[in-house]
Structure formats: C-alpha cells, structure tokens
C-alpha cells in the first residue's frame, strides 16, 4: 500500500440521494449519527460547498497489521524513515469479544473533538488504521483484531508527541466505553509514556 485511500468520505449531496424522502429529518439524523459515533463532520466542504462526513465503518478491507506498520504511507505521514523511529503505545482489551464498532467510534470521536485540526487536510482512513492529528502533532491509530486479540496501537514520531497524544486518545476511548458500553469494556495500555495514569480516566495500567 503506497498511496493513501480517499474513501470513507460522504458528502451531503450523496446523503440526500441515499436518504431519499427524508429531507426534513436530515439534520436530526446527522446529529444522531454524530452522537452515536457513526459519522464525524469534516470541516472542509466539497467543491460545491456541501458538508462532508467521515464514515470509518465504510472501510471494511483488512490488511496484515505488520505490513501496515511498515507501510510507506504511515512512515511518510509521521515523517520517519523506519519503524525504529516510532513511539508506540498499545491499548489491549481484556475480554474475548470487543465490538468492532468501538474502534470506529474512537476515530469519529477523535475527529469530532479535534475538528479544528482538519481545516486544511482531511483525516485519512485506511484498512486497519487511520492517520490523525491534534493541531500540528500527527499520530496514527492501528487496529489489530486478529483472533481474539483486540489491540489499538497509537503511533507517533517522538516521545514528546506521544506524551501529548496518549491522554487524549485514552480519554476518547474511556468516554465512549462509559457512554455507549456502560463501562463494560476493560482495557489497559503498555508502552512508554510520560507520567500518564490511565486509572485517572477509567482504565488500568498494565
């Protein structure tokens, strides 16, 4: 995979075609879909001025997680030359089953909360991962769902960036767990990060 996908983007014109006859309910439905984490509103409108939405659930392809971690797209985005330059924190989920929609909700929440970070460039959704940012700090989420494993890796290019990003990602994950899953998902993180206590946001340190 050398070039980024540009899929997972829905524009309002297309939404109106798909929701034929629901014109009066569109605002309500969009609001609801944002709230339940199905879509995130993107700050950049399309060339015709129509609102656009990110829909991570539309990317159903899977690829080898190892291949993704070493992909040129990822390395270029983080501005590093090899995986040796990555800083990685892994959020591991304890239970045998974690809903697949959870990861998509984390992505839409992070895009929604840090919407102003995408006024110049859209977030990029890829099979097994996505390229995101908070301000000028870039980071990558990688989803590993092989077998019973459900791990979300967060990658940055420097430790300082890692220290900035991890609390925000963790907060989004914990909030979604509490709001949508009644806190039933149990996860902890492993990896190096600065004085970050996951227990403060509802998780456990491994």
């Amino acid at each position: 995979m050398d070039g980024p996908l540009t899929r997972g983007i829905l524009d309002l014109q297309l939404l109106r075609k798909l929701w034929l006859g629901e014109n009066t309910n569109i605002d309500f439905l969009v609001n609801l879909m944002v709230h339940i984490g199905v879509v995130a509103i993107l700050p950049i409108a399309d060339s015709n001025g129509f609102q656009r939405f990110l829909v991570p659930a539309m990317i159903t392809e899977q690829m080898n997680v190892g291949d993704f971690s070493e992909s040129k797209v990822l390395l270029k985005y983080l501005n590093i030359t090899s995986v040796d330059g990555e800083y990685r924190i892994s959020f591991r989920f304890d239970q045998d089953f974690t809903p697949a929609a959870y990861y998509n909700r984390v992505v839409t929440r992070l895009v929604t909360v840090w919407r102003e970070s995408y006024t110049e460039k859209d977030p990029t959704i890829l099979p097994n991962g996505c390229l995101l940012s908070i301000g000028h700090v870039r980071y990558v989420l990688i989803l590993n769902t092989k077998g019973d494993t459900f791990i979300i890796d967060v990658l940055t290019s420097t430790k300082d960036h890692n220290d900035v990003i991890i609390p925000h990602v963790s907060k989004a994950m914990t909030d979604i767990n509490n709001e949508m899953y009644r806190g039933n998902l149990h996860f902890g993180h492993s990896g190096q990060t600065k004085s970050f206590d996951l227990e403060q946001v509802g998780g456990t340190n491994h």
Binding site: I9, Q13, L18, F28, L32
Partner: protein, 85 residues
C-alpha cells in the same frame, strides 16, 4: 419520527408532563427518545425499524446489499461522491 412542539403559551407543567410521558414510553420500549442528547431532546422515534433502515442506507456492505436508489446516487458528480464513500 415525532417532534413534540409545545406552544410558548403552554405552561411549564405541560412540557414536563409530555417529557415524563415520553420517558415512560422509552422505559417500556415503546419509543426511542434522546433526552440526554443536546439538540435531540424534542424528538422521539415511534418506529424503531425506520431508524435502522435509514442508517443502513449509508452504513452497509455495498457488495451484499443494494437499493434501487443507489443507481441515482452512483451517478452523482460523475460517480466521484460514490467512489469517495
């Protein structure tokens, strides 16, 4: 979907009674309501399947599930919008 719009000249208790009624209907599973979601408090969904069907028009496996309306949607902006999704 029902939006409960109570006139300004109605008393506060009218609104409270309506909300309590909707909350009760939600608790017994008769309707969906969203009293904790900003912007959606004044709506409730009477027919749950409508909501599922509506979301399914957007989020689905397009290889398995197709609808007649897809034909119009696919031609929008010379197919660019469809491809982006």
């Amino acid at each position: 979907m029902l939006s409960y719009d109570i006139d300004d000249d109605d008393t506060v208790s009218s609104r409270k009674r309506a909300l309590v009624f909707v909350q009760f209907c939600t608790q017994i599973g008769a309707v969906f309501s969203f009293d904790s979601i900003p912007g959606l408090q004044d709506y409730c969904i009477l027919h749950r399947q409508w909501l599922l069907d509506t979301i399914t028009y957007v989020v689905r496996d397009f290889k398995l599930h197709r609808f007649c309306r897809d034909c119009n949607a696919m031609n929008l902006n010379n197919g660019k919008s469809w491809t982006a999704l």
